[in-house]
């Protein structure tokens, strides 16, 4: 987010790795003051040794299929096999315009990318090996759920109150069964928090999600701004069957991580 220096991002990853956390996550937007998700995770790979490195989510169709596979495989190899690759179609046309990629047909391209990355259809000519990359798919459309169940290991939800997650999880499980996949999909959730300066956090979310119109206000209202709110959120997600919950800061301060850790202790 704006104001997050390279040092801060690395320090954040380092402390998360030392602390009780199990993953560090990044999200993606092109036309914004934010880091490329794979570059950020490559840097985090060097600063950490334990945590999983997750894109929650990266917009797959912005990249060509082979380059996306190459980037993901590189982060996976550089981190010693710790990549969780969350992919979705993205919601903003300006990102596609800036990348010079057609917005139309993005769902079809994401399907091809998933088949390519998971299916090893290139016979491993684009290395390093993609074996063991955990793949998640996000999105709320019926097609997103079927792509998830067809090609991925789990589902990446886009945040919101626990009941919204529970509803999406039910759909993900239904799709998983319909595609005849054995076992269960991994269910990943996410949320936003700000302890130190809730107003600044709220302003960031209003700005980041301005493209959604009135929905931005609701996302900002869902920002978790107290230890109690974080705890309730975590409990709600646990009850709804969430396997991994990624909490994103909305204030670019390292103290936020300490306070999150205290809230969860």
């Amino acid at each position: 987010m704006p104001g997050a220096s390279g040092d801060l991002v690395l320090e954040w990853a380092r402390r998360a790795d030392a602390g009780p956390f199990s993953s560090v996550g990044v999200l993606e937007r092109v036309v914004y003051d934010s880091y490329d998700p794979f570059a950020a995770l490559a840097a985090a790979a060097a600063a950490t040794s334990r945590v999983r490195l997750a894109t929650m989510i990266a917009i797959g169709p912005l990249r060509s299929t082979a380059l996306l596979a190459k980037q993901a495989a590189s982060v996976h190899a550089l981190s010693g096999g710790r990549l969780t690759l969350g992919l979705a179609v993205g919601a903003r046309t300006d990102d596609f315009d800036a990348a010079g990629v057609e917005h139309k047909g993005r769902g079809k391209r994401l399907g091809e990318q998933l088949a390519y990355i998971r299916g090893n259809v290139d016979g491993d000519s684009v290395g390093p090996s993609r074996d063991g990359i955990e793949i998640l798919v996000g999105g709320l459309s019926g097609q997103a759920y079927s792509r998830m169940a067809r090609y991925a290991d789990g589902y990446a939800h886009n945040g919101g109150p626990p009941r919204a997650f529970a509803n999406a999880a039910g759909r993900a499980l239904a799709a998983w069964g319909d595609l005849g996949r054995p076992g269960q999909p991994k269910l990943w959730g996410q949320g936003y928090f700000a302890f130190g300066d809730p107003d600044r956090g709220g302003d960031y979310l209003l700005d980041y999600y301005a493209f959604t119109g009135p929905f931005a206000e609701k996302i900002a209202a869902g920002n978790l701004t107290s230890a109690r709110a974080v705890k309730d959120y975590v409990r709600g997600y646990e009850e709804a069957g969430c396997d991994e919950l990624v909490l994103f800061p909305t204030v670019a301060e390292i103290d936020e991580l300490e306070r999150l850790q205290e809230a969860l202790a």
């Binding site: 088949a115 090609y151 993900a172 996949r181 209202a221």
Partner: protein, 652 residues
């Protein structure tokens, strides 16, 4: 602070009351286009939970409203010369006019300014403007609300009658033009609401599109003379209407906020419109209080709180509207099952929840199912199919085998489980030669075998181009597999875009007679298999150019006429990029339609995770057999060793 509320219906008046109670320093004015005593419709229904909310929000009006209430707890379903009774539903209703009088009186008492006969042409100049002006809201013009209006359900007309019903009554009348139904309930000691409904084609066939108000009233009076016991129907500009389902992407814009029907409507057949409107008012007033009149923050709170309830209610209302639209397809059901199907139509009542409200009704249903006065719930009742007896409705276990090497999905496919086996004979067609499902689905093998399909289009990304199937060889393979099959039920896989499924869809087969080869296989297998024979079918392709549900029902009918005993209902996967609609029980509504429209027994899965769902589905006649997807839960586990040791020490 001054507030202008446009619309003097229940939502607007109630909000006015609550805002004045909240802060006497706030000027509140209600602008209504009609006269104070003008009202459309007759009575409105409430549920018990609404009453609790009204008591907490304003005890004075709660007392007045409940004093004049008609209350009852019975639903009566009059169908094919029977009347079914279900109790425990706690309804109450009031004349809409009386409700408005009470609210207007309370407004005056609290110093709300009420102005009648005022048409609002432009956005009022006030600190807070409220659009409580109903489904045809004019105020919605003054903001970007993302309004969508779609008609749903059947044609309907709203009357009053001086016959006082003693139950919420659903009455059904068969005519030469089709089935009509009425929704009737009392709203005071003199009068009842009486709504008549019928699908649009029936309405046209009966010539109702050409009758005037009086003629159509006379038609309805005669049609339902039995229910009305010779009493009259009263009209109040009672015209045949289409119900508009209204949704808005947001309920506020600047200082303008909308509520009640202006924000969202719910089909009258679940009677929730007034409840939603009053709950909106309560939520909005509470949010303004909590946020100390910070409008932007209060509006977001209000929407976040109300949206999930409203959406759930609208979903249930749409299910109910659709149910009454296809009511004719249920007329073959026995009255007790017809009644249970009606009560569970919107998904809000299940076998278990009805059992709490009205154990006698579920006991009667169970008894009818089980054939004994005391019987277990429907899913536990036995079932017979072509001489094979099932102990219950959920004991079938799926097992799938490929009819040939070529027809395998992957090298790992096919493990036979224990239990009462539904053995599926499958040919993967163009979905063959893929990697194991643990890795993913439809991921082609690098060293796969050639695949076949009626057209040369590959199934998914990087899929092989299919060759022409050798139909005689495929047929022989199915027959050979059937001849050597050992199972309770044999199933031919014609779903999900596998070989036979790909013949059925216009998306994947260019020939005109798409049933040609699948029927050939069905007949050949039928000739060698004497036991129950099922066909697994994608009832819809979930794609605008593919098979619709109606197409799927026609296909199911053709199969039933050619020796198929059971349709295993599936949907989609005919092509890899269809538009599925996943949720719990996503196949239930499709199974309902196949079973009741094609009149063929069905088997359905679709992420059913509780026995209650099985009881409800089977009890309501939406399927005959179900596949459950029960989650693994850890209810009972051994204590960790250290704890057991501790216990041991205490005992010692």
């Amino acid at each position: 602070m001054n507030v202008e509320i446009v619309g003097g219906g229940p939502a607007g008046l109630y909000l006015a009351i609550l805002l004045r109670k909240l802060d006497r320093g706030v000027d509140v004015r209600v602008l209504e286009r009609n006269a104070p005593d003008a009202t459309f419709g007759f009575g409105v229904v409430f549920s018990e939970e609404t009453l609790g909310a009204l008591r907490d929000a304003d005890p004075e009006t709660h007392l007045e409203i409940t004093d004049t209430f008609a209350r009852w707890d019975r639903i009566a379903i009059r169908f094919r010369g029977r009347e079914l009774s279900s109790r425990g539903h706690s309804f109450s209703a009031i004349a809409r006019k009386r409700l408005l009088e009470i609210l207007q009186e309370r407004c005056r008492e609290l110093g709300v300014t009420l102005e009648f006969g005022v048409e609002v042409e432009e956005l009022p100049d006030a600190d807070l403007v409220v659009g409580a002006d109903g489904a045809n809201s004019l105020l919605r013009r003054f903001g970007d609300f993302g309004t969508k209006v779609r008609p749903e359900g059947s044609k309907y007309v709203w009357f009053g009658t001086d016959h006082v019903f003693d139950a919420f009554t659903f009455a059904f009348r068969e005519t030469e033009h089709g089935l009509f139904n009425a929704h009737a309930y009392p709203y005071d000691e003199r009068m009842s609401t009486f709504i008549v409904e019928c699908p649009e084609p029936v309405w046209r066939a009966a010539g109702l599109d050409e009758l005037d108000e009086q003629e159509s009233l006379a038609f309805c009076e005669q049609l339902f003379a039995n229910e009305l016991r010779g009493r009259e129907l009263y009209s109040n500009r009672s015209l045949w209407l289409d119900f508009p389902k209204i949704t808005n992407a947001t309920w506020h814009a600047g200082n303008l906020v909308i509520l009640g029907d202006a924000a969202h409507t719910a089909h009258f057949s679940i009677g929730s419109g007034t409840k939603l409107a009053l709950d909106d008012s309560i939520s909005l007033a509470a949010a303004l209080a909590r946020r100390r009149w910070d409008l932007a923050a209060a509006f977001v709170d209000y929407e976040l709180e109300r949206e999930p309830y409203v959406q759930r209610t609208q979903d249930a209302a749409s299910e109910s509207a659709a149910y009454f639209g296809r009511i004719a397809s249920y007329s073959h059901l026995e009255p007790i099952q017809f009644g249970f199907n009606l009560l569970t139509r919107s998904g809000r009542i299940t076998h278990a929840t009805l059992g709490v409200r009205d154990p006698h009704f579920t006991r009667a249903l169970d008894a009818w199912f089980g054939g004994r006065a005391v019987s277990p719930p429907p899913a536990f009742s036995p079932f017979e199919l072509r001489g094979v007896r099932f102990e219950n409705r959920f004991e079938l276990v799926e097992s799938s085998v490929a009819v040939s090497e070529e027809g395998r999905t992957s090298r790992e496919a096919g493990i036979r489980p224990g239990g009462k086996i539904l053995l599926r004979l499958s040919h993967a067609g163009r979905r063959g030669a893929t990697q194991p499902r643990s890795r993913g689905v439809d991921l082609p093998l690098a060293d796969g075998w050639p695949v076949v399909a009626p057209t040369k289009r590959p199934y998914g990304p990087f899929g092989a181009i299919p060759g022409r199937p050798d139909e005689d060889a495929v047929l022989d393979a199915f027959v050979a597999a059937a001849e050597s099959a050992d199972a309770a039920v044999l199933e031919i896989d014609m779903a999900h875009g596998y070989l036979l499924g790909s013949y059925l869809s216009p998306l994947t087969n260019d020939e005109d007679d798409r049933l040609r080869f699948p029927l050939r296989v069905l007949e050949a297998v039928r000739a060698v298999w004497e036991g129950p024979l099922a066909v697994r079918l994608s009832v819809t392709d979930w794609h605008p150019r593919g098979n619709s549900v109606e197409d799927g029902i026609a296909i199911a009918r053709a199969f039933a006429e050619n020796g198929c005993d059971l349709i295993h209902v599936e949907a989609g996967q005919t092509i890899h990029d269809d538009r599925p609609q996943y949720r719990r029980g996503f196949l239930t509504a499709l199974s309902d339609r196949v079973r009741n429209e094609a009149r063929v027994p069905t088997l359905v899965g679709g992420h059913l995770t509780t026995l209650d769902e099985a009881n409800t589905i089977v009890g309501a006649g939406r399927a005959d057999l179900v596949l459950l997807d029960l989650p693994e839960t850890e209810i009972d586990r051994p204590l960790p060793l250290s704890n057991s040791l501790l216990l041991g020490e205490v005992r010692a």
